[in-house]
Amino acid sequence: MSSKAPELETLLSRKYQHGFVTDIESDSLPPGLDETTVTFISRKKREPQFLLDWRLKAYRHWLTLREPSWATVQHPPIDYQAISYFSAPRTPGDAPKSIDEVDPKLLATYEKLGIPLHERARLAGVAVDAVFDSVSVATTFKDKLAKAGVIFCSFSDAVRDHPELIERYLGTVVPPGDNFFAALNSAVFSDGSFVYVPAGVRCPMELSTYFRINAAKTGQFERTLIVAAEGASVSYLEGCTAPMRDENQLHAAVVELIALDDAKIKYSTVQNWYPGDEHGVGGIYNFVTKRGECRGRNAKISWTQVETGSAITWKYPSCVLKGDGSVGEFYSVAVANNYQQADTGTKMIHIGRNTKSTIVSKGISAGHAVNTYRGLVKVLPTATGARNFTQCDSLLMGSRCAAHTFPYVEVRNPDATVEHEASTSKIGEDQLFYCLQRGVSAEDAVNMIVSGFCKAVFKELPMEFAVEAQNLLSVSLEGAVG
């Protein structure tokens, strides 16, 4: 924390920094969605028949579903026929085989975003899969990971190279018919990341996917599947940005995590999609289904998210605690400023005996924003000895924003222990004045107070990203007070 103070003033004077557009030729489908769209995507990716069938089944099911309306968010109806479901930067001939064949404009884009993909400039200790619109453009450190037996590649490559793993695990945590957006994703998903860590392997480096939406009028529908076999462990991080545009763009992803006996998966998100401008124009609709299943004994899945972007966020990273003694964790900071709306939280489903879950949610609202925590702790009759601890805190800045907390608790085993703590506070005028009276500027004071509020979550992030998250927060809350 102490090293960032001098940079703060420059940081605070910046607006959304990732709003540029890369001028690159793309192959895009015209807007519209029907079975031929689904078939086109599958054919384009030369997928095996089982996957096309799977997609079409999902699509037909989607047609029977209606967009959910229970979230505390408002937006005009989405015209699903006005979205382009596939956009890929044009490549001469086949897909690039190595990073040297990747279009320099793409490399420059990631460079500008602070994610160098070049061999010489790579982030030390972090392997990156870069997803640009609908496709993965590069994955770094593949060879090094392969030596450890870890598979880390784009979803498309996984379908081609490891179809048996895909067929075995895809849709087993989030079934295609799970919900409206998951069904849509299952039908039209275009790329994403795949991770497989074999039994007993501790992944030697941090894995990370960087999602970038570039093309206009497209949606991004990626899919991430992470499998940690018996005794394996992996830490994975995703980051996201998009250009500033006046129209809303849809991002409907699905993430599935599977942890077998004694496996550990740590999944961190720093979400910074374009949030729209200060009048609420534009921004990404981030409607995402994320779920992990502790399938084996003593497995552990931990979600950490820092959500600062998107016009609307609708996501509930959840844990299904099937294996006896398994552990689920959810640490979240959700920031909503200006006209942003966030409805986020988690579900912890206790099925196995002595399963344990922890939820720490910190919501920050400023401007006219609405920030909702929605969580479910469910203890099934089989979950003897289950324990949950939930802490939900909301911080309000100014008087035009709102915070809601909806903690649902369903306990069907008398032996379970469920604890809940909640608080709502305004950024205290008293706290602010105290800092001002000590000579600290209003901006620095707000940053300090907010960082303090989020400390319990930030300490869960991998080191390299904790600093980034903190910086993001100060940019997101610019002008919120004073």
Partner: protein, 250 residues
């Protein structure tokens, strides 16, 4: 150092300060005493620059500058310190971190180089030792879970690190046991000097037994009713405040 003339202020439309006159010269220690609700704390908050108060008249100069024209943080950087009656908790924000930021804001204003973490640690540890504070304090959140006495001690520690020209201590003595009171008094006395002024707001005389004031003022109904030397405090202790107010009516 500080010159207040006919200062008037409202809180939520209610007139609280009704024409305060006070002059504090460099090197002096003043005590402002008075019953609860007389406006003493309001005066301290107004001087520190709290925005909830509406100034309706009068003027205040601090070191020759128009104090009321300065925002709160500028007043602090110029050397005005308020020891709060109820220091607020700021969870998760490290005590040492806030204090270092405060010190550096002030040094920057004065054109001095910022202190680094190492220098700062040396400085604060010495002051903590002087105030008899435990080192665990460094890693705790600002006033987070502090007892009343610890909070007050923390205010004095901050004052010693920031070395203000003018310290306003708002009921710093209230809620302290005798040992804590002595420590606080020791801190305040150590700050006394020819180029500094201290204003103690209190309604008991007991702190004044340890910090001897040059001037004592009685504050009632939004203004200073009577001023005198330290014997006035003793007289107030013996006779209460009512005789003064009755005297005014008569």
């Amino acid at each position: 150092m500080l010159k207040i003339s006919q200062l008037r202020a409202n809180v939520a439309g209610r007139n609280i300060l009704k024409g305060v006159d006070l002059e504090v010269r460099a090197g002096e220690v003043h005590a402002i005493m008075g019953p609860n609700g007389s406006g003493k704390s309001t005066l301290a908050q107004v001087l520190a620059g709290r925005e909830d108060y509406e100034i309706t008249g009068g003027s205040v100069t601090f070191d020759g500058a128009d104090l009321l024209a300065m925002p709160a943080e500028e007043r602090a950087r110029a050397g005005l310190f308020l020891g709060f009656q109820y220091p607020v908790e700021i969870p998760g924000v490290n005590n040492a971190y806030l204090l270092k930021a405060a010190l550096n804001a002030k040094r920057k204003k004065a054109g001095l180089a910022e202190v680094d973490a190492y220098e700062f640690l040396g400085l604060i540890k010495a002051k903590m030792k002087f105030m008899g504070m435990d080192e665990s304090f460094l890693s705790r959140g600002v006033n987070e879970g502090f007892s009343g006495g610890e909070k007050k001690r923390n205010e004095i520690l901050q004052m010693l690190v920031l070395e203000p020209k003018l310290a306003l201590l708002d009921e710093t003595d209230s809620g302290l046991d005798i040992d804590a009171l002595k420590v606080v008094a020791k801190g305040v006395n150590s700050l006394r000097g020819a180029d500094r002024s201290i204003v103690l707001v209190t309604h008991y005389q007991r702190l004044l037994g340890y910090v001897e004031p040059d001037r004592v003022h009685v504050f009632a109904d939004g203004r200073i009713l009577k001023s005198g030397d330290k014997t006035l405090a003793l007289e107030l202790e013996a006779r209460g405040y009512d005789w003064l107010r009755e005297g005014r009516v008569a």
